[in-house]
Amino acid sequence: MSRVQRIGVFVCHCGSNIAATVDVTKVAEMARLEQGVVHAEEYQYMCSEAGQAKIAEAIKEKDLTGIVVCSCSPRMHETTFRNAVERAGINPYMVEIANIREHCSWIHKNKAEGTEKAIILAKAAIAKVNLNAPLKPGESRVTKRALVIGGGIAGIQTALDIAEAGYKVDIVEKTPSIGGRMSQLDKTFPTLDCSACILTPKMVEASAHENIRIFTYSEVEQVSGFVGDFTVDIRKKARSVDMDKCTGCGVCSEKCPAKKNASEFNRGLGNRSAIYTPFAQAIPNVPVIDRENCIKFKTGKCGVCSKVCQAGAVDYEQQDEIITEKYGAIVAATGFDTIKLDDFDEYAYSQSKDVITSLELERVMNAAGPTAGHLERLSDGKAPRNIVFIQCVGSRDCTNRGKPYCSKICCMYTAKHAMLIRDKYPDVKVTVFYIDVRTPGKNFDEFYRRAVEDYGVNYVKGQVGKVAPQPDGSLMVQGVDMLDNKQIRMEADMVVLATAIEPEAGVRKIATMLTASIDNNNFLTEAHPKLRPVESPTAGVFLSGVCQGPKDIPETVAQAGAAAVKAIGLLAKNKLLTNPCTATTDELLCNGCSACENVCPYGAITYEDREVNDHGIREVRRIAAVNNALCQGCGACTVTCPSGAMDLQGFSNRQIIAEVDAICR
């Protein structure tokens, strides 16, 4: 079956990543003793051009037929090496990777142990390559439609860019309107233009674009399939208002008697009715009934909104609807929220209404916000005279209270807030407690310096240890000025916390559905931190905005565009080469029993009556036939087949057994 292989083994140092805990020379030495190995060498960076050249050279000189690279995870560079050997003239599927970095050098400290394990992993890979056979990829189709999950600025921008390139794109947004966090902001740094003024046109453009469909108040329910051919179930939650009939007149919200529901849009600082549009510029401008707080849904009596609606759009009977659609590419743009402050009781956030988060301050400063844009204390409506800003609340905190990362946007928005307040209310004293002021970015540091130099914001290097509400309603702030080496006790009437941001709560569920990687902080992982920053390791899934890591608006928009380009690049293809690691039948062993057909999730197995020549016996037999375009190579059939007639190319029974044997030897 398999001819005798001539195998080359290439051991990568990965700088010191591998070489520090694995004796790479020894690995190469031991590999040389294995069956089929005719060449073994080590090199600093196998994935570098020079490293790849070494492989190509060895292939030529020693007429290699199989390659083992002992390096990082195959999820990282398998394709690199496959391409490299293909250029050197051998089939790319003759490469196997021994993962001696993620699965070895990075987790073991003892060099002897690490080396021993690396040798065994190399032996297993060599044993497998001995049984490898050249494979040829098939082709699969590309559905020319993209899905964007999340309708914030990231999702909107990605969708617009994809739509402009001429491809259909759907946005799924879980809240009743697109717009996201940016719609909650008042002004944007460093230019101080009004957030709504620059966002609203984009929202309108997206909603009017012929290539864009927007599903608001909807969530992704299920994702199946693979790059180029995803099938997604979208749950359109019952809005209780007919989108086609509603004219957006707003009378229903006005007349709704259930008015005292915390407004999500205003971060709970104001109220909304039970039938509501989250904000004036909402898109679509169609209200939704919050069934939990609606009197009609709670008691069965009321129905005011239905009575006042001229268009007859209110529909209490509306049900959730599941829409199933096919997509070629999926972009995650799920965004962020601020962390809960329950564990930071030293800042008295839960005790005093006058201690607020920066995002809440955005609403307070906004003309459409709960105070109509007047800066006032939420406890008594009085104008504050002393405002203290506290930076890094929960950011850069490696205890379990906070987040270990820098939230990146706080330094700039705090400078913005301080500046705006000093500009509008010159009598108000503003003090900012900071650990470091981090303002890299175009015109960013200039902006921060302006807050200090032109607007007289008092920046204090140090942290706040305690905020204590006083009987007179003021707040005692105790902090430290590390440069003066003094503890400061000052009275304030408002404290603003630069609260850490974290990925939106539902992202883990979405990552799971997409089989996209997610890190310990719930940020979606990029395929490569430098070189593939907008792609997820899962093919066909791209990342846009804060779901991948903290970033400000310009960065988000830039990344959204980059994600769009990647998606467009995929959609532009008519066909994708498919994984050639598909199932095959040995016609002489097949019983024709249909067991494999029963477990195949893709319907890739059918049966045909075929004449076979079984060692001289010619007869027509019922034999399983695999459709390579449909087969995804899971291997379910191979285990259900009792005779072993069904096998998986690239992960054959004998290959896996060879690996098992090599490990247990």
Binding site: L589, N591, N598, S643, G644, D647, A658, D661
Partner: protein, 319 residues
């Protein structure tokens, strides 16, 4: 029996069937063997008695490839195997003329010997007893005391599939089907290990169990092919006999009708049905009662699942 021979003769004579698959007398009175009969003359050799335990369904795989129909005599439990094979597209229904034969339970010569009866020359079946002529005189035993293990836990005397029925049956299930399995399950790990070690070390890898099993009907067994680097004619090490029996049981899990042929034919007397029945018991308990061969539609438990299936950890939880 004569009724069977007559009917077979008729069908052969009018050309309805090309051959008859039944049992013929063996060299000893208690070991009839499966045989084809192609004419009336040959049918003189036909027998059907208490020792005709052999399940003829598996022979129908090959018979399905022959020209014309084959008349096959199937006992009630054999029909489960036939319909399971039909479900797996291994036999051709159109090539089979099935006569369902009655069954009073089948006899186990080993049990008779265990009663201390030696030098057996002839066994005569009476209504409820056996008259046994031996070199040492005539002995009598109650029929019900010396049946095959499987008959005490009979699935019922109803044929699952047939063209016609001949003969009366008699219920024989007086035992508890899973008692043997439960007994082993109750043992400590050490005892279990010792028990199976004792039993399996007797295995001589004659493959009789595999060859007789209607579910073990692969064209080529994995243990004879190089697909898993597992080709072996004899056990290379003591592990392989375990491997063979575990894998064999696993391969037939969800397909084994519990016909008991494996235990019947084992020359070493290994209670092989304890493997298959363990899987059946687990399947029944974990995934709902399932009887292979009962119908042609129900999905096999190993080619099916539910979202709420037990996790493998349940093995430890059950203790």
């Amino acid at each position: 029996m004569q009724e069977l021979v007559n009917r077979a003769g008729e069908l052969l004579a009018d050309g309805s069937v090309a051959r008859v698959l039944g049992w013929k007398a063996g060299d000893l009175s208690y070991n009839p063997e499966p045989a084809y009969f192609e004419n009336a003359e040959a049918l003189e050799q036909f027998v059907y008695n208490g020792f005709c335990g052999a399940n003829l369904s598996k022979y129908m795989i090959e018979a399905s490839k022959l020209e014309g129909k084959t008349l096959v005599f199937l006992k009630p439990c054999d029909t489960y195997s036939f319909s399971q094979l039909l479900k797996e597209h291994r036999v051709d229904r159109d090539k089979a003329w099935i006569i369902g034969v009655g069954c009073h339970g089948k006899l186990d010569i080993e049990r008779i010997r265990e009663q201390g009866i030696k030098g057996i020359e002839l066994v005569q079946e009476e209504e409820d007893s056996l008259k046994i002529q031996t070199l040492y005189g005539e002995k009598e035993l109650p029929y019900q005391s010396v049946m095959l293990e499987r008959c005490y836990v009979c699935k019922g005397k109803e044929h699952r599939i047939y063209d016609e029925l001949i003969g009366e049956s008699k219920e024989t299930d007086t035992g508890e089907r899973f008692a043997g399995v439960a007994e082993v399950e109750a043992m400590s790990p050490e005892e279990k290990f010792a028990f199976f070690q004792r039993e399996l070390s007797k295995c001589i890898r004659c493959n009789a169990c595999r060859n007789v099993c209607p579910a073990c009907s692969c064209r080529k067994c994995v243990f004879d092919s190089n697909k898993f680097d597992s080709a072996q004619k004899v056990n290379v090490d003591s592990f392989e006999e375990k491997m063979f029996h575990i894998i064999r049981a696993f391969h037939v899990a969800g397909r084994c009708t519990d016909c008991g042929e494996c235990s019947r034919v084992c020359p070493q007397g290994i209670p092989l049905h304890l493997f298959n029945r363990k899987f059946i018991k687990d399947i029944n308990e974990l995934y709902g009662t399932f009887q292979a061969g009962e119908d042609l539609e129900t999905k096999g438990p190993l080619t099916n699942f539910t979202f709420e299936d037990a996790e493998p950890g349940i093995v430890a939880e059950r203790g």
